[in-house]
């Protein structure tokens, strides 16, 4: 087993949990009797207060700025329709004390001055617990909901996002002292011009914590330069170790410390008292996440045509896709697959493994790499190994039930981890930065006395 990540990297020996309230997609079960509302404030209050009882570091909300579509109409089979992240988090700030409040917000369809002000507002209202999960989705299809339509080349999205984030940081840096004065921030970029005298002082944690989830080489470099925490797609042990090595190297190359960028992979937990019960629970979870209609609809996305005549419990369709490439309308994760090639490959794979449509789609969509299934004690032992090596700083957990999906984790898994000494028994402080063990940023000297215009 891997013992050392990197000579300069010091494992903390600790794990933190975040919860990712998804609000869309098939991961959240809506068909069970205990499936609660996706929009009522009480669902959010219950789960965030459960997480806070379990000393979770952060509560995440996602964002999607256009409803996903299926064959040209809104996709009907999965949970959909969610509140604005920052509005919800501002309300949750009033009913929580310690947990971090993370808003996923887009750099393409926001104005830096407005978004930075709203995030600073959330940071102050929450007493220094706000974070921004920076996403860079850009396409004309999403742009159709905005004044600023599809204006950005996909290749430019990180260049643009980085200019946006740096402008936001300057806005958060702009007050000389907590009493002011504020310095004017001017940015003239290719896509944005900003000229603003910021209204708000720094918060108890200086400025919002930055999360980032990009996984491409550009995305990783962007995170290594700008982010405090990476919301990664690499929860499996060996993969997590590799990812950590890569991020440590990129952070050092960007002039930051080996420990400066934390990593919390997306994950799902299916737990029970025994391994066997957990496996039974997993079968139940999967059957509700991907029902027969969802399995067929999943293939329809790639085939670009209706396949309702095909039996979900039968083999994959023998007809070919009618599209060359899948579109962005089902979400960025589905965009751009080569349809025919994929269909051939999948048919062969399903045949070889003897899988029906439903079984095959379940195997494709279930977060196989991201799911920890087992007894409380076995999973706790496994996670303790991540902590020992420093493969990750924690896990960002997507519950498959709202609002009860964390109960098991908080009541059973957290105490096991605490017994093993790898999970906090108390919050370290009141701000998110304190609770994550992140250093407080220093005010950039070039901002004093006045912000110079930068052209990018």
């Amino acid at each position: 087993m891997t013992q050392h990540i990197h000579a300069k990297y010091q494992p903390s020996g600790q794990l933190q949990f975040g919860i990712f309230f998804q609000g869309v997609n098939s991961g959240t079960i809506w068909k069970a009797p205990e499936s609660g509302s996706q929009t009522d404030f009480e669902s959010f209050r219950r789960i965030v207060q459960t997480a806070e009882r379990g000393k979770f570091a952060a509560f995440f909300l996602g964002e999607g700025l256009r409803l996903r579509e299926h064959l040209g109409r809104p996709h009907a089979l999965d949970v959909v329709g969610r509140p604005d992240a920052q509005t919800m988090l501002a309300a949750l700030a009033a009913v929580t004390k310690n947990i971090g409040l993370v808003a996923t917000q887009n750099t393409t369809y926001n104005d830096p001055a407005d978004l930075a002000h709203r995030l600073a507002s959330l940071d102050l209202l929450s007493g220094g617990r706000a974070a921004w999960n920076v996403v860079t989705t850009d396409n004309a299809w999403t742009g159709a909901n905005f004044r600023r339509g599809g204006y950005l080349d996909h290749a430019d999205r990180y260049v643009h996002a980085e200019a946006f984030v740096e402008t936001a940081k300057r806005i958060w840096d702009s007050w000389e002292t907590p009493a002011g004065p504020a310095h004017r921030v001017v940015h003239e970029g290719r896509h944005y011009t900003v000229d603003v005298t910021p209204r708000l002082p720094r918060s108890a944690q200086y400025r919002p914590v930055l999360f980032q989830a990009g996984d491409s080489p550009d995305g990783r470099d962007f995170a290594a330069r700008q982010a405090d925490v990476i919301f990664s797609a690499h929860p499996k042990f060996d993969d997590a170790v590799e990812f950590r090595r890569d991020i440590v190297a990129r952070s050092l190359a960007a002039g930051r410390g080996a420990n400066d960028v934390q990593i919390m992979p997306a994950s799902e937990f299916i737990l029970a008292a025994t391994e066997q019960e957990a496996q039974e629970k997993k079968a139940w979870v999967r059957s509700l996440q991907i029902g027969p209609q969802q399995a067929v609809a999943y293939l329809e996305q790639f085939w670009g045509r209706e396949l309702s005549a095909y039996d979900p419990d039968g083999p994959l369709p023998d007809i070919d896709p009618v599209v060359e490439e899948t579109s962005e309308t089902r979400g960025s994760g589905f965009h751009g697959a080569k349809a025919r090639q994929l269909a051939d490959q999948w048919r062969a794979e399903a045949k070889e493994r003897g899988l029906s449509i439903r079984q095959f789609v379940t195997s494709k969509t279930a977060r196989i790499d991201a799911t920890f299934t087992g007894s409380y004690t076995a999973v706790a032992d496994h996670l303790a190994e991540y902590a020992r090596v420093g493969a990750v700083d924690g896990f960002n957990i997507s519950p498959w039930l709202i609002p009860t999906g964390l109960d098991d984790i908080v009541n059973q898994l957290v105490p096991e981890l605490q017994e093993r000494g790898v999970y906090p028994t108390e919050y370290r402080g009141t701000t998110l930065r304190e609770n994550l063990g992140l250093a407080t940023p220093e005010r950039s000297p070039e901002l004093i006395p006045a912000a110079a215009a930068s052209v990018r």
Partner: protein, 353 residues
């Protein structure tokens, strides 16, 4: 005490409570327990003011009956975001949200987002477009769009979701835009949030009275305010509630109100005793549907209002009952409207028969 048909509501502007969580919580709780029906949150571009919509959201879980109504600009904001944020505020407040739609008249607001400054009649055009977008998006999910039908595997009924396909009209002074929809959040609890705007923004060549549910009326002095209320009501018709704007400086803590005067705001200003204000509001509420008070100092005036003014107005039957488990629409005596798209479906189905 019975509520007379002429009974009105009282709003209080909480801008002075700032962003500090304790002071904001205390202010909104004090306003609610004093019996105010509505708290408003200015989005003033002054140092130390957090985003108004977020302050209203923060105030939601700590209150129960008071309506929470933030200002949000229509000119330099993304209308799709504003619509989503307001719908979300309606969810977190249990249907107590409203919107004071403003049209920023400031070169600084334009420069902050890199847009050209617009002025004059373009302001009302921008406000009209933004309000129309929000209203369409709020209707874009019909009330019963989330069906959770296990038998057919459908979480939503897609026939009950609608593209809004908004395009700005040809004559718009600024750059035009379009919004596709549907909304990314289901229909707000109230169906449509009540929309308020300055009366000066509504009327001929401006915002249509149909676009708003209530207007905020200003006059130079308290003496002229009641007449202005009547004139606006005559001009805009009975479908729009009329809310009078009043600055308030009260004798308090052994100090005469006249000794605490700050700079003029452009609104009518009442300066004097709590008893005098009570009489004045009692008479003003016979003409206006509501009055919004702007206290000179939240800390000082709120105390006097809570102890001396609102209880007496209540005894005189001048105030509507607070909305217990009700909505802001209930307070304004507005029906909960059906989605415009549900109506068009019904019409289409009827036409086919």
């Amino acid at each position: 005490m019975s509520t007379t048909p002429k009974a009105g509501f009282l709003a209080i502007e909480l801008d002075g409570a700032g962003w500090e969580r304790t002071s904001l919580t205390q202010a909104v709780l004090a306003a609610e327990s004093a019996g105010f029906h509505v708290a408003t949150f200015a989005d003033a571009p002054v140092p130390g003011r957090a985003n108004a919509l977020q302050r209203a959201a923060f105030a939601s879980p700590v209150t129960r009956t008071i309506a929470l109504v933030p200002e949000a600009d229509t000119v330099y904001t993304e209308t799709f975001h504003i619509s989503t944020q307001l719908a979300s505020l309606d969810y977190v407040s249990g249907g107590r949200a409203g919107w004071i739609a403003t049209a920023a008249q400031s070169p600084e607001a334009a420069a902050a987002v890199g847009r050209s400054f617009v002025n004059g009649e373009a302001l009302a055009q921008e406000a009209a477009a933004s309000i129309e977008v929000s209203r369409r998006l709020w209707d874009s999910w019909e009330d019963d769009a989330v069906i959770r039908d296990v038998a057919t595997g459908r979480y939503i009924d897609v026939d009950k979701l609608h593209y809004v396909d908004f395009e700005t009209p040809a004559g718009l002074a600024g750059p035009g835009y379009s919004v596709k929809g549907p909304s990314i959040i289901p229909r707000p609890l109230q169906g449509q949030l009540p929309v308020l705007a300055a009366a000066s923004l509504v009327g001929d060549g401006q915002l249509s009275p149909d676009a708003v549910d209530a207007v905020l009326v200003t006059a130079p002095t308290p003496e002229l305010l009641a007449a202005e209320v009547c004139e606006v009501r005559a001009r805009l018709g009975a479908s729009v509630a009329v809310v009078a704007e009043l600055d308030v400086v009260l004798d308090a803590r052994g100090q005469a109100a006249a000794s605490r005067l700050a700079a003029e705001s452009g609104r009518a200003r009442f300066v004097g005793s709590a008893a005098g204000l009570t009489d004045y509001l009692d008479s003003l509420l016979k003409e206006a549907d509501g009055v919004r008070l702007h206290p000179a100092s939240l800390a000082i005036e709120l105390d006097e209002l809570a102890r001396l003014v609102l209880p007496e107005l209540g005894r005189r039957g001048a105030l509507r009952a607070p909305i217990q488990d009700g909505t802001f629409r209930d307070l304004l005596r507005l029906e909960r409207p059906e989605s415009r798209y549900a109506r068009s479906n019904t019409a289409a189905a009827g036409g086919g028969n």
